[in-house]
Structures are given as C-alpha cells and as structure tokens.
Amino acid sequence: MKKRKAILWFLLLSVGLGPPLFSGPDGPGEIISIPGTADARRDLHDLDLDLLMERDGRIFVVAGPDDILRLSARRVPFVIETGSFAPARPGELGLAGGINGDYHSYKELEADLKSLESAHPSIVDLHTIGTSLEDRNIYAVKISDNVDRDEEEAGVLFLGCHHAREWISVEVPFLLARWLAEGYEGNPAIRELVDRSEIWIVPLLNPDGLEYSINVYRYWRKNRRANADGTFGVDLNRNYGYMWGRDDQGSSAEPDAGDYRGVSAFSEPETRAIGNLFLGRNFLAAVSYHSYSQSILYPWGFTDIPTGKDDLLRGLGLEMAGLIQTVNGRSYACGPAASSLYVTNGDLADWTFGVSGIPSYTIELPPVDIQHGGFFNAEDEIEGVFRENLPAMLRLVEFAVRTR
C-alpha cells in the first residue's frame, strides 16, 4: 500500500514540476540515477531509457512519468537528480533577484503572489490576514477549486518564515503554491488533490524581520517589536497561546533574548493573524517551515511527555521523512520536538495541536548543521530543497483529504 502511494507521489512529482527542465521520450521528465548493477542495466535496456552518463557507480538517465512508474513497479531504487543538474535560475522559478539574490524580499514576494493570483484566479485567492508592526501585509494564499467560497473540504496550513533569517523557509511554501497553481490545469492528480482540499499557504509571516535580515543584519531572528527596554523583537514562534511562557527553558522572558516570548500570548500582530486564520477554519494538518537541521518535529515542544497521538504523529512524520529521502537521498530526522531538538513553549505546532489535535509539524529544512551553512542556503539549493519536500507536502494534503 505504501509502495503504491509512493508511486503516486513520484508521478505527481515528475509530471507537475512547472516548466519542464528536461524532456525525455515520454515528454516532460526527470533525470534519475540508479545503481550501476547488472540487474539495473538490464532494466534500463528493457525500458529503453536513454543513458546520460555514469558517475560514482551510478547510472544517470532521463525518465518520463511512465518510466518512473515502471521502475517503481520493478522495485528499482532510484533517486531524482534533476535538481542537482538544473540549479535554480532567476526567472525560471519566478524569483526576483535583488540584494538577496534569488530569495524573495517582502516586495518581491508580494508581487509574485499577486501575479500568481491574477494568472490563476479560479484556484488562487490571495488574502491579507493581518499587518505587521511596520505595516506590511501578511499574505495567505488559498488554493482550492471554488476558491472564493469556504467549502467543507480538508484544510491544510503551510507556513514559512517565523524567523527572519531562515530565508529558505519563505521559498519552500511559496514554490508549493506556484507548483500547485501552475500544475492544476495540466495534471489530473494535482487537480484532484486541489479540488478536494483547501490549501492555505502563508510563506512570509515575519516580513519586518525578513527586511531587517536582508537590509541590515543577516542573522536577525525575531520580529521588529520595539520592546520597552530599548531592545527589539519578539520570537514569533514562542508567542502562541498554548503553554505560552510555561517555563524559561522553552522561551525567555528577557526581551533581549533571541527566544523572547513577548509580554503575553499572541501579543504580536503576526501571531494574531495566524491565530485568527486557524481558528476560523477547519484545518486538518499544519506545517511550519524553519531551518536548519533537517528534522521533522511534532508535539510536544514544551515537554517530553507523549501527546497520546504519537503513533499518528510519528507515523506520518516518518512517512514524510521517507518520501524526502527517496527524492535525493537526504535524510531528515523525525521525532517529538522537545526531545529531538530542544524544549520550546508557545510555538505554532504545540498551539495548533493543542487547540485542535491535528497533526502539526515543524520542519527544519537543510542544511543539516551550521558547518554546512546554518541559516544560509546557496541560491542554487532553493529548488532542490523545495523538490525534496514536495512529496511530503503532498502526502500531508492527501492525509487531510482522506481524514475528512
């Protein structure tokens, strides 16, 4: 059963990636690699796949959707390598350049989201769910059929950029929105998924912090709250209302601290915007993207006591980690937040799980450690990080659809 699901997601992955980077014999395709064994060579011959090259004991070929399906049926292990052959290029991804390269600034993202909405008005509806302290809009993209109506469909929430310096966390949810919108017309699988769900994407929750990170200090983390003592910033991912301020280990009461939780739960307009969005709709799963460490974390963050739903949370988390690994071999750890990374209180995943019991995840994107970039990702990694996360994102939407 799991195998079939994986095939479904590989199919989605391979046929819907926006403008095709490569065209194989069956139309749009991917570069994949398989082990250079005699059995694998025989399979390639049987499937009549074009050999690109051999490197480090692996064979690289161009495979169309049907080829990938057939390889899966023959249980040939493969890795999608397109990302490493086709680094992100400005314009191709819809990213806008500027002082932060291919990463989005607030204005670039605003422009791209509006373009997305105007290009796909039937399935993309751009909402302003609040404004930041410095009066920037906090945008939420709703993707669904009958997009201007709230229907009884499975809601899934994807969030990015609680923390200003985690630039990659803007790009992954944004690219999901773009991928869904652009693939909807031509891909029945995407269409079915979108038609049966209401996918909400908030790619940039902390626009003020991001702008400060871009223009002044790259490592800025919090929002831009002017605290009473002259310091700046509240850690938005310590400002939600579940177990807010439970102890000083999972957040800090000191305004100068990087994990300062604010004067009260939901004291910040940014978290209030998410609170209102979430409570006003029927979400069945939620993911908050961060970086770095390659981890899929689930509640609780405030304690290492199990939630009572750990089987579900862990099972789904491991499934997502497995899907990510299948794309390019990159490994994401999976576990409860408090015992896997560090104790947090007042974070989004605890709050969404605490108030609604839905599967809620914090996904820490690459790199794996500070030695390999920390909060920095090279521009040409953006697309690859998105692609490796895409099957997991789709799996979560599919979970919500089936749950409903």
């Binding site: 002082i99 923390h163 002044v216 790259r218 601290a257 990087g258 390999h372």
Partner: protein, 423 residues
C-alpha cells in the same frame, strides 16, 4: 552580563569583563520606537539632510545664511547671482572638522548591539577649493566641494572566554559625495543680477558587516558598495533694494542621483569546505528633492551686516531605490532658517591697519523624517583677519538636536583661506 544571540537562537552569556574593546550595555531607560531610522539610514549624510553645499568659515559663522550674502566662490553653490557682488578675483580653499553624534544606525541600537551613549562620527576634510572672477557684467566660478559625508562610527564587539576570542562582530561605513560646480552670473542692471550653476556630483559609499563565530570557524561577511553620479542645476537672482538692503531668491533643481550598487553576502566555513556567496548588483536611483530659498541682507551701518535665509526642501518627493526596490522613506517637507550678523572691526598692528570681522549666527535645521520629528538648533560664531589680499576666516558651529529623544549633537569648525584681487 552581556548576551548575544547564538546561531541556534539561544543566548550565550559572557562575563562582561571579557569584552573588548567596547562595552555595550543594555539601555534601561525608555526608548522611542524609532523603527524608521530616518536620519541615519545608510544613505543619510552626517549631521543633516539639508545640504546645499559646504559652508565655508564666513558663512558658517553667520548661521549658514548665504542666499543674499557672499564672501567667496562658494556663493555659487547656493546663489550664483551673488558672484557679481564679489571682488574681481577670489581664490579660496577651505578645510573643516565635523562631528556628529548618533544613537541608532545599522546594527547599533536596532536590535543587535546596544549602547548607553551616543557614538560620535568625526572627520577632517579639505572640503572646498574654488575661484571666481569677473569680466565686465559677467562673473564666473568653478569649484570642487564636499557635499555630503556618509561615515559612521565603526563598531567592534568581541566576546572572549577563558580560551580566548569566541565571537566578534564589527561594522564599518564610509563614503562621501563631491560636487563640481561651474557657474556664470550676469549683472542685468545696477541693482539686479542673475546666475546659473551646473553641478556634477560623484561619490561612493561602502559598508561592511563582519561576524566571526570563532569556535565553529564561521565567518559571515556582508559587503555593500555604491558609486554615485548625478547632475543638477541651481540658479538665483539678487536684487539691491537700496544701498543697505539686498534681497535674493535661489533654486536648486531636483535630480536623480544614480547609484551603481553592488553587494556580496558570504558565509564561509573553510574546515567544512562551505563557501556560500550571494552576489547582487543593481542600477539604483535616489530622487533628490528640489529646494528653494529666499534671503535678505541688511547693512544698517558700514561696519555691520545682517543676513537671513529661509530655505524650503521638498523632501516629500524624495525616493530611494536600493538594489531595485523602493525603500520606505517617510519624509516631509522642511523649512530651514538661518540668520547671522557680521561686524567689521579695524585695528592697527605693527603700523598697519588690519580688518577683522566678528560673526555670530544661529540656524534651525529640521530633518525630513516624520517619525521621529527631529531638528537641530545651532549657534555659530567666527572671526577672521584680512591682511592685504589675503583673508583668513575661522568659524565654529554647535548644534543640539531635539525630537529623537537622544539629544544628538553636531559640531563643525572651519578655516578658510581666500586670496582676493579687487574690491
């Protein structure tokens, strides 16, 4: 205990005694929510946004009131029509020492490093060289002048443990803008003169923030540079109402200050072979506002001259495009006031008659940002000595700011040497 935010967002404490060379303490008193830096955005000139061109010692001592009063070729920077009232030839060189205190700029007191005190940027410069001459009813001037300076007090924060340096962060910003002026003026009648100036501006701004996590072998460097170019014109009229009273008006055109901007953000961990670079370049533009002023000069007696200015700066039209994006600069128009008094004394020394002016003045110089509203009040003073064809003038200006809540200050001293031929 001083803290900084470590790479995982966790606070890393260090004993205060281990910090060199600057001790940054958390600022305990109330702070205005100056989220828009306004005066000290990166492109903000030191001391004031309202720059008409360098003030040499005589005009500086008179509060900067120089729309209707001229002493040398620097008159062309404000009102070229005044060139007709200068001696037949003037050759002038001037230098100055400028300092201005700042509380909030770049990473200082905006969330990264904090300080209890204002920090002071000071610089000494040879800021004007120019000449003027008259030919019949015409007068001409050429000059090179320092228009703006963008320096900031450098920051160097280091945290040590017993094992040595564990972390450092530092910033540096420098740069200036120079103005090359060519002006012509014509006496239209015995009482009326008109002048026109052509101004080419050129300059550079560089900013670097370097951060070093020593234990992890990580270096983060953010380097930005901008090369500026621009052209504007200025013009003026001067009218002698009587032998004692003169009126003048002047105008500076708006212009686009173009910037060739470059940026490189780099993250290096040599031990891991990590070298992530995000380069950027852009053709940017800063739309400078037009400005217009009026001035009066009154000579109640042969020894005493009073001058006053009122200048309007259309800052609401200012815009800054930085790496392709228009930046928020919530500016409003401002009126700058200046007035000064000059008394010419004469005395004998070594058997020769020397003339020495005594000058005092004041000015009120509001800054364009809306929040916080901020303005400097200056008192100015100066003197000089004329010995034959040579004049040496000295001046000082002391300014105190109100509005930001940080009692910023600005000081300037100038010395100007002028060689004069003709009356």
């Amino acid at each position: 205990m001083i803290k900084f935010v470590g790479p995982m967002g966790k606070l890393v404490p260090f004993p205060a005694a281990c910090l060199v060379p600057l001790i940054f303490l958390l600022f305990p008193s109330q702070v205005r929510p100056q989220l828009v830096l306004g005066q000290y955005e990166d492109e903000a000139p030191v001391r004031t946004w309202n720059s008409l061109g360098v003030e040499l010692a005589p005009s500086l001592a008179c509060g900067g009131a120089r729309t209707a009063a001229a002493w040398d070729a620097s008159a062309a920077l404000v009102n070229p029509a005044l060139l007709c009232g200068l001696p037949k030839l003037t050759v002038t060189a001037s230098g100055s020492r400028t300092s201005a205190s700042m509380f909030r700029y770049s990473i200082l007191n905006t969330g990264v490093l904090s300080t209890r005190e204002n920090l002071t940027e000071g610089f000494t410069s040879l800021d004007f060289g120019g000449l003027s001459f008259k030919a019949g009813n015409w007068a001409f001037a050429f000059s090179a002048a320092l228009l703006e300076s963008y320096g900031r007090p450098p920051l160097d924060f280091r945290a040590n443990s017993q094992a040595g340096l564990v972390y450092s962060i530092g910033t540096a910003q420098s740069g200036d803008l120079r103005n090359f002026n060519l002006s012509a003026a014509r006496r239209l009648s015995r009482r009326l003169a008109a002048g026109l100036g052509f101004n080419l501006v050129s300059g550079r701004l560089e900013r670097t923030i370097s951060e070093n996590f020593v234990a992890d072998g990580i270096t983060i460097e953010d380097r930005k540079s901008q090369d500026f170019k621009g052209f504007f014109m200025n013009a003026g009229l001067s009218l002698l109402l009587s032998e004692r009273i003169g009126l003048a008006v002047a105008l500076r055109t708006p212009y686009a200050r173009r910037s060739d901007s470059r940026s490189l953000l780099e993250y290096r961990v040599p031990a891991a072979g990590t070298d992530i670079r995000i380069p950027a370049s852009s053709e940017d533009e800063y739309r400078q506002p037009w400005a217009a002023g009026a001035g009066v000069s009154w000579r109640p007696s042969g020894d005493l001259k009073v001058s006053a200015d009122l200048w309007f700066f259309n800052w609401s039209s200012y815009s800054a495009v930085y790496f392709g994006e228009e930046k928020e600069r919530d500016f409003t128009d401002v009126l700058r006031l200046a007035a000064g008094l000059e008394y010419l004394s004469a005395y004998r020394l070594f058997g020769r008659t020397l003339r020495s002016p005594l000058r005092v003045g004041m000015s009120y110089d509001p800054q364009p940002m809306k929040a916080p509203r901020s303005a400097y009040a200056y008192i100015t003073f100066g003197t000089g000595i004329a010995f034959g064809r040579v004049r040496v003038d000295f001046a000082g200006a002391i300014g105190k700011e109100s509005g930001s809540g940080h009692s910023l200050s600005a000081r300037r001293g100038a010395i100007t040497l002028t060689y004069v031929i003709g009356d």
